[in-house]
């Protein structure tokens, strides 16, 4: 496997990991539902209502 592909895959993994950490920090700043990983009924509703404002 070429060096390039190796580096590409590594970059992909690190990039994704970095993005996830960044997102976790950002979401925890928002708090509330955004910080929670559990997709409870209330959250589903909240997200839905954001998509289709009534």
């Amino acid at each position: 496997m070429g060096l390039l592909i190796n580096i590409f895959v590594l970059a992909l993994i690190f990039g994704f990991a970095g993005y996830q950490i960044y997102r976790a920090v950002k979401r925890s700043k928002q708090g509330k539902c955004a910080a929670c990983d559990y997709d409870c009924e209330a959250k589903k509703m909240l997200n839905q209502s954001k998509k289709h404002p009534v």
Binding site: L10, F14, A24, G31, K32, C36, A42, S49, V54
Partner: protein, 664 residues
């Protein structure tokens, strides 16, 4: 499009009915004030839209979620209201029905849970009920899907086909009646308010309905505002209540029919005799949790998890390694994928069985009706620390995830009680901490796995309660708290509901494996493979080792003698599951068995227990910190929870290790 609003007391099976009648929530409406309140769905193959409103005892709200219903009725007029009632508690259910019937919107009343009523030995004559109340009355049993086809047929009809209801007119005492008529007349005349609505709003205003009074103030409804003092001085509120109740009693007496075969199987009474026993109640509560951990650790969870681990660390790991070697991947990439991701993320994923079994148990507790019993048996203890038994429910939900626990604390009426519950929530042992417990108990307490884990959960509860007491004294919270719990009939948990609830809770864990646990594992792999000199082959020269060794002296007094767990603890702030995956990476092991052996070698039972206590109580994860910040509205409380967690966990772990060493 026909709009049907579902309305009724809590615990009448409204949501079950809603889910049976409609497709998955089509969309959700947002209402003034509170963010999320009503669910909207559509009846299959029809133009009928169903709105599920939160359960309320009356239209005069006490808590914020209850005001949603009144606000909805003030601002919207549904084509039809489906009033869901609990057939065996019709008396108090009808108190709400009367309020709704007075509105004059078409209403269908359904007596839900009709089988419970039949079992109690009597029945109601539906025609009598219907003529007395002036609206159609149906019977259903949503859990067994009884009567649903007929009910659906009633709801699926064109707007024009719905028969208009005239508002229910009760014989209020003369003075009250006069007051209602006068107010309603001038509202209709001077404010052009629809006569029916004016009548209803007058009754509600006189009846001291907070939301309606606010509405009247906003709209400057003078006829009502000017008479406020008079209404209150005359105690019209009490008279209205009495009139309604005697009307209902009257109606029910005429409609009651005795059933011949009274096979009175009081299942609920029998269970309650044991479960809510004054002395045995608490031990049973503990026993139920012990059983939960026994199931997830000893009986079902761990054996399944063993198979999963065998598969991931065996065939999957070997295959990936061979594949990567064949395609010519760099050793670094191979190490990242095999020793980092597969070992780390996989090391957490193998706990899926345990966590799902635990979630299934919590769902069964929620669905069966045990939760309110738990609130009851714990109330005396909670009262001592200045909270009430109902605060126990958010804490139990916190066993799943602290964030949901903190969110559930929103239902607590008193602001100070809510703040206290929020601050103690992180001490509840969330499911993310299970993997690390599981590793340690397997290594050092193989015979008493469930017992040790249970002791940690209870230690968490004890610390939470003690802290609550401390906060209670510091905040000088008032004594008054409303504690009224209904003890509903027990239900035999239905398989699909349990599965649904378990999946809803558990899929978050799987999602986390692909996001934050993945990221944490990559981070710890980086830290353990790079050092000041760049890429290192010896893990002892890595950043992770350096960091751990610097902090080692601090952790020595609690019995930790190696640097690996310390570095793992640091990454655990991202998410508690990451502690486990970090341990996998740092100890350079590819399967659970090897890691357990390593742990067994570098810990004693005592130091392991001290470490577990530390893990239980130390800094909350990012998500929880953020939630505390947003729920309390200040970064100070979030920072405080980090510091207090560290201090408490360190002190306790230190004491356990030091005192334990003296004794052993």
């Amino acid at each position: 499009m026909t709009t049907v609003a579902l309305l009724g007391n809590p615990n009448t099976g409204k949501t079950t009915l809603f889910n049976e009648l409609t497709d998955k929530y089509a969309y959700v409406g947002n209402w003034t004030g509170v963010t999320v309140e009503k669910k909207v769905g559509q009846i299959r193959h029809s133009h009928t839209e169903v709105i599920d409103l939160p359960g309320v005892y009356s239209l005069n709200p006490i808590t914020k979620d209850e005001s949603v219903v009144t606000n909805y009725l003030l601002g919207n007029s549904p084509d039809l209201i489906l009033n869901v009632t609990n057939a065996s508690q019709l008396k108090r259910n009808l108190l709400l029905s009367v309020e709704v019937l007075e509105l004059g919107v078409p209403v269908i009343i359904t007596l839900n849970m009709i089988d419970d009523l039949k079992r109690s030995g009597h029945y109601y004559n539906l025609d009598t009920l219907s003529s007395k109340l002036g609206c159609p009355v149906r019977t259903t049993n949503a859990r067994n899907k009884e009567g649903l086809t007929e009910l659906r047929a009633d709801l699926v009809c064109e707007q024009s086909e719905i028969k208009p209801n005239s508002p229910l007119k009760l014989n209020y005492p003369m003075m009250v009646n006069q007051a209602i008529r006068q107010a309603a007349d001038s509202l209709t005349k001077d404010y052009k308010i629809d006569a029916k609505f004016a009548h209803w709003i007058a009754i509600q205003y006189i009846n001291h309905n907070k939301v309606v009074r606010k509405y009247a103030t906003i709209h400057q409804l003078k006829p009502l505002l000017s008479q406020k003092a008079y209404y209150d001085a005359q105690k019209f509120e009490d008279q209205i209540f009495e009139t309604r109740l005697s009307f209902i009693e009257n109606t029910l007496t005429t409609a009651t029919e005795q059933l011949q075969s009274t096979k009175h199987v009081a299942l609920t009474s029998k269970i309650d005799k044991v479960v809510t026993h004054p002395i045995l109640g608490l031990p049973i509560f503990v026993g139920i949790f012990y059983l939960m951990f026994k199931l997830s650790f000893d009986w079902i969870g761990t054996p399944l998890s063993g198979y999963l681990d065998g598969f991931l660390s065996g065939p999957v790991s070997t295959w990936a390694n061979q594949f990567l070697t064949q395609v010519g991947a760099l050793p670094m990439l191979r190490s990242l994928i095999v020793n980092g991701l597969i070992a780390g993320v996989g090391g957490v994923l193998v706990f899926i069985p345990q966590i799902f079994v635990l979630f299934a148990c919590i769902t069964i507790l929620e669905d069966s009706g045990y939760m309110s019993r738990a609130a009851l048996v714990t109330d005396r203890i909670m009262e001592m620390i200045g909270l009430n038994g109902k605060a126990f429910i958010p804490l139990i939900i916190g066993f799943g995830c602290n964030v949901t626990g903190i969110m559930a604390a929103r239902t607590i009426e008193q602001p100070k009680e809510r703040l206290i519950t929020t601050l103690i929530s992180p001490f509840m042992s969330c499911s993310a901490r299970l993997p690390i417990y599981s590793l340690f108990v397997a290594a050092l307490f193989p015979r008493h796995q469930a017992l040790i884990v249970l002791s940690l959960y209870f230690l968490g509860i004890v610390v939470a309660l003690l802290m609550a007491k401390v906060y209670h004294i510091i905040f000088q919270a008032e004594e008054h708290s409303v504690f009224i719990v209904e003890l509903p009939q027990y239900h035999i948990p239905r398989l699909d509901i349990v599965w649904h609830g378990t999946w809803d809770k558990g899929k978050g864990f799987i999602k986390k494996a692909g996001t934050i646990i993945f990221a944490g594992t990559v981070l710890i792999w980086l830290l353990s493979n790079f050092g000041v000199s760049g890429y290192v082959t010896q893990i002892d020269q890595s950043f992770a080792a350096n960091l751990g060794q610097i902090l080692l002296p601090i952790f020595k007094p609690m019995g930790i003698s190696t640097w690996q767990p310390i570095s793992a603890l640091l990454t655990g702030v991202l998410a508690k599951e990451v502690i486990s995956s970090s341990m996998m990476v740092l100890f350079h092991t590819s399967n659970q068995g090897a890691l357990i052996a390593m742990i067994g070698g570098s810990f004693t039972t005592l130091s392991a227990y001290a470490l577990l206590v530390f893990i239980l109580l130390y800094i909350p994860c990012f998500a929880t910190i953020g939630t505390i910040k947003s729920e309390t509205g200040s970064a100070k409380w979030a920072a405080y929870s980090v510091v207090s967690g560290l201090v408490i966990s360190y002190t306790l772990a230190f004491l356990i290790f030091q005192i334990g060493s003296l004794l052993m």
